[in-house]
Subunit: 298 residues, 2 copies
């Protein structure tokens, strides 16, 4: 695969194994599409699929899976801990290799138009594909969930970007858009005082005047008797992992607290970590083309 786009669609079915497999099957046995992972949560009653591929075959597989989910899932009968507004709740496209944010935005809009046309499901474009600032944040779009969307969608400021201004009777609505890969990164501190982790989190995160693409909160690791600053870096190409790390270290100093470790949760693009090696070693003129694995993937 020369160009690689990732898609992480979330479906509102986490319990019925047969339905889950029917949806996931849409990503199997397709040329230039690779299913990386899928996991269902019974409490959340939700299925999260991670798939990569060349943009066009990926688009086709995603459309097929959305069609399958619209057919199989009835939100009127859905209950679960996770907020949701549709049979397919959210579909982010993420540029991974030889693809740009612009291409991910374009792909998301193509898929959005087709979802409305083929399945009659109203679509909100979100994140980098959003058509207005108040539609960037998924939580803001989803507020009210499937149940509340019946009325919400009729308000002018919540007119969908594609499809009818009317909730699909069983499949609800869906958010489709482009975003950067998310890096879940936690920094451990040698204190049991959660208020210190919280205070640091508030300073490093965007909301508190900190780093633009950083969300953060304090978390207790009770079994270890320590706390951590738990972060989501929503664009590591602009808010680098090492910068967030060093900012936590810097803020920790005033409390007489030290960084005693860190963790990466889930998948991480290699560039996010190689950027850190480049920074700490002071490597000059490095190109990702020098990474053996980038060549192999070409």
């Amino acid at each position: 695969m020369n160009k690689i786009m990732e898609c992480v669609p979330n479906f509102s079915e986490g319990r019925d194994k047969e339905k889950i497999e029917k949806i996931v099957d849409c990503f199997r046995g397709k040329d230039n599409v690779k299913l990386l992972d899928y996991s269902n949560d019974e409490d959340h009653n939700r299925l999260v699929v991670t798939v990569v591929g060349e943009p066009k075959p990926l688009r086709d597989a995603v459309l097929e899976a959305i069609g399958k989910a619209v057919q199989l899932i009835d939100l009127n009968k859905h209950s679960g801990q996770h907020p949701r507004m549709g049979a397919v709740d959210v579909v982010p496209f993420i540029p991974i290799k030889n693809t740009t944010t612009e291409e991910a935005v374009a792909l998301s809009k193509e898929v959005a138009a087709q979802v409305a046309e083929r399945y009659g499901v109203p679509v909100f474009l979100y994140e980098k594909s959003a058509t207005a600032p108040h539609r960037e944040n998924l939580a803001a779009i989803r507020k009210g969930e499937f149940e509340g969307m019946a009325e919400k969608i009729k308000q002018p400021e919540w007119k969908p970007d594609f499809g009818p201004a009317e909730r699909h009777p069983t499949a609800g609505t869906v958010a489709i858009g482009a975003r950067m890969p998310l890096v879940a990164y936690n920094v451990n501190l040698n204190t049991a005082d959660l208020s210190i982790a919280d205070a640091i989190a508030k300073k490093v995160r965007f909301l508190g005047g900190g780093l633009r693409f950083c969300k953060a909160m304090g978390v207790e690791l009770k079994d270890r008797g320590i706390v951590q600053v738990s972060m989501n870096l929503t664009d590591f190409t602009r808010t680098a992992v090492y910068r967030a790390h060093e900012m936590v270290r810097m803020e920790a100093q005033r409390y007489g607290v030290s960084v005693v470790g860190a963790e990466v949760i889930g998948l991480v693009p290699m560039k996010a970590l190689i950027d850190c090696a480049e920074y700490y070693l002071g490597i000059e003129n490095f190109s990702m083309d020098q990474v053996l694995e980038s060549r192999i993937m070409e």
Copy 2:
């Protein structure tokens, strides 16, 4: 490709484009074999090919290319700056993904046996495949080159591991073996004094009592008015890049000199750099399976 082995065969033909293409063609259009790079040097009169693949198809393609080179290249008519002892001079196998050193050694021996049987070329196993300590080092095996090998190969201590104890009349002899990926890594110092870089190089390298898998020398960067410690790390899984880097920094201190940058030359496996990010950030319990690109390559 699930298992990936790399091979970097060196052929003694760097001038005749037609012959070069005939050899390189053996690596094209083969399932599960990927030609990453090839470069010929006219002064050295040598061709270096970088290819990766699943072990079995890679083995077959390498054997085909060796056969082609034996057929096309006559060492009696070869001259060039680079030392050489055969039409195919050296064939290293390097484990890259889901493959071990042991598998690379086994593959090198399979290829060695076939080269002797099919083409009648005597083979020396070298590096990790060597059958005696004095045969580990390629330079020691190659000493005397094609011309000297006529007599050298008749000595008991230089009896080849496979094939006749007689130099092939036109193709000479070949070294085949397994080695780890090489990382070429240089650390820049803010001084123009080459003797300082030399002194540091002597301390960090294996030969001087330093790091086991480190070769090093001082190099002048005349246009920048600085010097560097130029290193070859021959097994980054055991002599990590960050360890060599920090040891140079440590030794530089006594001269009042600072590290002002570093460079990676050529290809580098992603793990060599990700290991550095793990070290400097203090990441706990990280697995290479968390790297998105490892999953894509599966």
